[in-house]
């Protein structure tokens, strides 16, 4: 490290400008905090080292939530996408999910430009090597070149750079993603200040040249024809979309893999990190599911103005020559020209149970961590955490109350609660099945769930907020109208029902009841009984969903109400689990480690039984009373 010099004072320093870092910096800056954003390379801002796509089930939901709260990811992908689709349209509204193919280079440039235009952000290229910590409070950071920046808060979003190590067959070298410089010293420093780190692993497939592919042997995968966007505020849509392509591995591919397993680091022991089950390498898939005759391979363009294509489904750390051989067994890729090999990467992760639900570390005050550093995988999971860490760091710097989303409010809430309460043994991916209130956490209603919060903290401006209020009012009044509007079994109504394949009416009813029938749609009802004013299609969608699935929604709301009751019982700071007589040993250890904020969170820790919770409640009540008595004693 060079001679130190004092380089500046900030309210918030964000280390790393990946998907978590950019959201953190933008949130903090937009909330009015002077923010420094540092990155190892200014050329890899919001870089997508793996597949060139954003969204999908649960992940797409997170992007919508980020937008509702005032983050950037949705807007940025809307501006740079080359294809967009709604997935799961054959299923219920809760699991409809957007997914876009990005022009990954445009995505980076667009995000960089947004950061550069943000007046409260200072954007610099620097390698951070050390945190300045005094009495377990972070005060700033020191860079490799000796710059000392001081700050009230620091947000670390180091992705897969911490002690990064790339593995391709027997070729192993220290590196960040895509041959970027790894961050070595910072990892040692984090251990020194008392953070517990573990090793995770992930991987990426090879990229091939478009000109070397025979698409006639593949199935085309076009985007949707209806205009779609992630952001609630996007008004311009891209219509000329670029397709992806589908093909399959076969017996020959699998044979090559099987005969080269001795050269696969996954099986030879060269990889020590824990990999994700949901993002397995092709060698992993072939070994674990050896009865499957073929695996899907999607070819995705890396951008509009590049010939590089991403081979989804073929993530691998096999040696380069095996990768080429394997690629050329796949229909349409017989002459594939590999431009970059696939690789596995190992990196250091902060054990996330060391964090408060605000993403601040318990050990070092004012230090926040977010993204892949916390053991997650995926751009969206990273961005969601980055946004919350940025918001909470800003709240700290501004002396405001923290913002914690609960499991019934957002997938982001589910994600963070899972991380800090349960921890994770492998890179964590969001799944819709992780959300117990899935029906409430829909793609379509993210604004209704979260925009109010975004407005309150200052990330949603007045114009966007007014537009949201208008939508909300329209939904409410339209639902009221349908509930109040009585219909008689007139010939028109019977005709409509008959043509929809629904049974005819015997008695009068109201429009809402009619809409609840599975065969009846809002459009049918609207055509016969139009409302007073023209309403937006997003409003119609809400009205239809809320009326049609009212029974199910009601059931989940009841569960949420129960959950909120226990969630509202706070655990005071004076609670010392080690002194609570009657707690089971396991509960005592786990509770001391996690330090849950409330009874709800405590009850989600594995190994904490209902009896332990009862005992904890009594202990808290007892302590409260004791304190009251003491206070009484003092005043008298």
């Amino acid at each position: 490290m060079s001679m130190g010099y004092k380089a500046g004072d900030f309210g918030c320093i964000v280390v790393g400008a990946g998907h978590a870092g950019v959201e953190a910096a933008l949130a903090s800056a937009r909330m009015g905090v002077k923010t420094l954003l540092l990155t190892i390379s200014l050329d890899t801002i919001a870089f997508m080292p793996c597949n060139p796509s954003i969204g999908g089930p649960a992940k797409g939901h997170v992007v919508r939530e980020i937008d509702a709260l005032g983050g950037e990811m949705a807007k940025n992908i809307d501006k740079t996408l080359i294809q967009i689709r709604m997935l799961n349209t054959g299923k219920g509204p809760a699991v409809h999910a957007l997914r876009a193919q990005a022009d990954k280079f445009a995505y980076q440039n667009e995000m960089k430009s947004t950061l550069e235009k943000e007046p409260n952000i200072t954007l610099k290229q620097a390698m951070v090597e050390k945190l300045i910590v005094e009495n377990d409070v972070v005060k700033g950071i020191i860079t490799r070149s000796g710059a000392e920046y001081y700050s009230e808060t620091v947000v670390l979003t180091t992705g897969t750079y911490l002690r990064g190590r790339i593995i391709i067959g027997d070729l192993i070298y220290e590196s960040g993603p895509n041959n970027q410089q790894p961050s070595i010293n910072l990892s040692h420093n984090l251990k020194e200040i008392g953070l517990n780190l573990v090793r995770f692993k992930t991987g990426t497939p090879p990229r091939i040249h478009r000109e070397s592919v025979d698409f006639s042997k593949m199935e085309i995968q076009p985007g949707d024809e209806v205009p779609r966007a992630f952001s609630f505020d996007t008004k311009e849509y891209r219509l000329d979309q670029i397709p992806c392509w589908l093909t399959y591995t076969n017996f020959h591919t699998h044979m090559i893999i099987n005969s080269n397993l001795h050269r696969a680091p996954m099986f030879s022991g060269a990889i020590e990190g824990t990999g994700p089950r949901y993002c397995p390498s092709i060698e992993d898939k072939v070994v674990r599911f050896n009865d499957k005759p073929r695996h899907q391979i999607f070819l995705e363009p890396e951008g509009e103005f590049t010939e590089e294509m991403y081979v989804q489904g073929l993530s691998t750390s096999l040696p380069e020559d095996v990768q080429i051989e394997m690629l050329r067994t796949i229909p349409g890729m017989e002459k594939a020209e590999m431009m970059r090999p696939g690789y596995a990467i190992e990196y250091d992760v902060v054990v996330p149970t060391q964090l408060w639900p605000t993403l601040e570390t318990k050990k070092i005050k004012n230090l926040f961590t977010a993204g892949q550093l916390n053991g997650t995988s995926g751009y969206e999971e990273a961005a969601g955490q980055g946004l919350m860490a940025g918001i909470n760091a800003a709240c700290r710097a501004l002396g405001k109350d923290p913002v914690i989303l609960d499991r019934s409010q957002a997938y982001i809430g589910v994600l963070i609660d899972d991380l800090v309460t349960k921890g994770t043994n492998e890179p964590y991916r969001l799944l819709t099945s992780r959300a117990e209130y899935r029906l409430l956490l829909r793609n379509d209603n993210a604004d209704l769930r979260l925009r109010e919060i975004g407005y309150k903290i200052g990330l949603i401006d007045e114009n966007r907020y007014q537009a949201f209020l208008l939508k909300k009012n329209q939904i409410e009044s339209e639902i009221e109208r349908l509930k109040a509007y009585k219909v008689k079994p007139t010939s028109e109504v019977q005709e409509m029902l008959k043509s929809a394949g629904s049974s005819e009416l015997n008695n009068g009813t109201d429009l809402a009841t009619l809409l609840r029938r599975p065969e009846v749609t809002y459009d049918m009802i609207e055509s016969l009984f139009p409302g007073l004013s023209e309403i937006d299609s997003a409003v119609k969608e809400q009205v239809e969903i809320e009326i049609k699935y009212a029974g199910y929604i009601e059931k989940q709301l009841l569960q949420v109400e129960k959950m909120k009751k226990v969630e509202s019982k706070k655990i005071p700071e004076w609670v010392d689990y080690k002194t609570i007589h009657g707690l089971s040993l396991e509960a005592r250890e786990k509770l001391s480690k996690i330090q849950p904020l409330n009874i709800g969170q405590a009850s989600r820790i594995s190994g904490v039984s209902p009896a332990d919770i009862s005992i904890l409640l009594i202990y808290i009540e007892q302590g409260n009373k004791n304190m009251e008595l003491n206070q009484h004693g003092k005043t008298e």
Binding site: C50, N51, P57, A58, L87, N88, K91, G92, P93, A94, V95, A97, P276, R277, Y278, C279, P280, K285, R288, F289, K292, H295, Q296, F298, Q312, G313, S315, K422, L431, T432, S433, R434, E436, R438, L439, P518, Y549, Y552, K555, Q556, K562, K565, H581, G582, S606, S609, P610, A611, S614, I615, L617, I618, Y619, E621, Q622, K625, N626
Partner: protein, 457 residues
């Protein structure tokens, strides 16, 4: 008022006469009003009044004639609204009434929960807090022991099997939701309907089995032991004959254990492995030493029969060693014959146990035996507390809950509701079944998805 409404039988089990079912919480009045008919609605009567009326079940049949005390918050034990139902006729009626209350929306109280609420609502002073913690801890430990016993049993086998089937279906649904573009076959409506119907049928069967023996099943588990030809089967026959036994067969177990239930002075006894006694006259011989030891350890009451006309054998000394810490009544039979037995040794080895002299042949001593059993019970020597019973009522309640969820799922499948919503009901079924065997970790689902399917980019 931030607690749900709970209920439990608050009098000791088995006592004749009156039993009291206590209901506490916001909805206490409303719930009891649903099943009670008196001169006034309970929600309209004054606080701290006793009201006469009748309880009706869902078919409108009278269940019992009762006195209901209504005590409104805050001047009650828990500081919540409390309703106490005083019903007739001991255990059977009390359980029926409790079940009605639970069916109408109350939740079965956990160990020590009324007291816990009283404390949390500020009713009980600080010095008592530790005592409450002890109650919760010890009762829970015991409940867990019982739960563990049941884990080895038939019920849990059935439940684990059903849950595994449900989990596979769930994982299948979830994988098509979270990986819509993977070439995983979609779950067809027919398959879903078939699986759900089969689970529903199985749950219904379990509820029926539970209902058949529901009172008796929870009697005091009693084992008759002794060497061959001491008169065990005569004793059994005499007890059964006199008390009109109800025999239930438990099908499907590895051996067809027959349990017989008898009622002695209002106390339900469950006679274990009576078939074994009838066939071979010897439990030890039939099921082996290890298992009979286990049976003895699990028994709430042991009836140990000896021959007045025979000397003590080595077997007897061993048996007494095993029995010395259990609730045992020593029965010295064949007093019509001459004395060969060294009774002093028995008195020494089983110093805490009552000794009854009988002659089954002459029908002497049976009355004394029944008195001894009832005294043992009322003196509180038998460890059988409300727990065997609580866990079983709990099971029935959870089974009913899972039946409701799976019925909801079937309903939705038939209406062609989207599959992700059907998954909610199936998940609820899986959760409720899991609570019976104290296992509901949703991480299982994620594990199942990745074990069952090959997905991921």
């Amino acid at each position: 008022m931030e607690f749900d409404t709970i209920a439990a039988i608050s009098t000791a089990l088995g006592e004749g006469g009156i039993a009291i079912i206590r209901v506490s919480g916001e909805d206490a009045l409303e719930i009891v009003d649903n099943i009670f008919k008196g001169s006034k609605k309970l929600s309209t009567v004054d606080s701290h009044t006793i009201n006469y009326g009748k309880l009706f079940d869902e078919h409108g049949n009278v269940v019992d004639e009762v006195l209901v005390s209504v005590m409104r918050s805050p001047k009650t034990y828990t500081k919540e609204d409390v309703v106490e139902i005083n019903c007739h006729g001991g255990l059977i009626a009390a359980k029926r009434v409790l079940e009605l209350v639970l069916d109408n929306g109350a939740r079965l109280a956990e160990p020590g929960e009324f007291t816990k609420r009283a404390f949390l609502n500020g009713r009980i002073d600080l010095s008592q807090a530790e005592a409450i913690i002890d109650i919760i801890r010890s009762k829970t430990d015991r409940a867990m022991n019982i739960a563990l016993k049941q884990v080895e049993g038939q019920l849990s086998k059935q439940i684990i099997k059903m849950r595994r089937e449900l989990l596979e279906v769930l994982a299948h649904i979830e994988v098509t939701i979270d990986y819509p573009e993977h070439d995983v076959e979609t779950v067809t409506h027919n398959l879903l309907l078939e699986k759900s119907n089969s689970v529903k049928k199985e749950i219904e069967r379990l509820i029926e089995v539970a209902n058949q023996g529901k009172v008796l099943r929870e009697g005091i588990s009693t084992v008759i032991v002794g060497r061959p030809n001491v008169g065990k089967s005569s004793l059994l026959n005499a007890l059964v004959h006199e008390n009109k036994a109800i025999v239930t067969e438990i099908p499907g177990t590895t051996r067809d254990v027959i349990e017989e239930y008898i009622n002695i002075k209002g106390i339900p006894l469950k006679l274990v492995d009576t078939a074994g006694i009838r066939e071979t006259e010897d439990l030890v011989e039939k099921i082996g030493v290890e298992r009979s030891k286990k049976a003895l350890e699990e028994a709430d009451l042991v009836l140990y029969v000896l021959n007045y006309n025979d000397t003590l054998h080595e077997d007897d000394l061993q048996l007494m060693e095993i029995l010395k810490d259990t609730n045992v009544i020593v029965i010295i039979n064949k007093t019509d014959l001459s004395n060969q037995l060294d009774i002093e040794i028995i008195k020494e080895l089983l110093s805490k146990s009552p000794i009854i002299y009988t002659s089954m042949k002459e029908e002497i001593g049976l009355e004394e035996l029944e008195t001894a059993i009832s005294q043992l019970f009322f003196a509180g020597n038998i460890k059988q507390d409300d727990f065997t019973y609580v866990s079983n009522s709990r099971h029935i309640q959870l089974l009913k809950q899972s039946r409701q969820s799976v019925a909801d799922a079937i309903n939705s499948i038939e209406e062609y509701i989207p599959i992700d919503m059907i998954a909610i009901d199936i998940k609820n079924t899986w959760d409720a079944l899991g609570m019976i065997i104290c296992d509901s970790v949703s991480e299982d689902l994620v594990d199942q998805i990745f074990t069952q399917f090959c997905v991921g980019k």
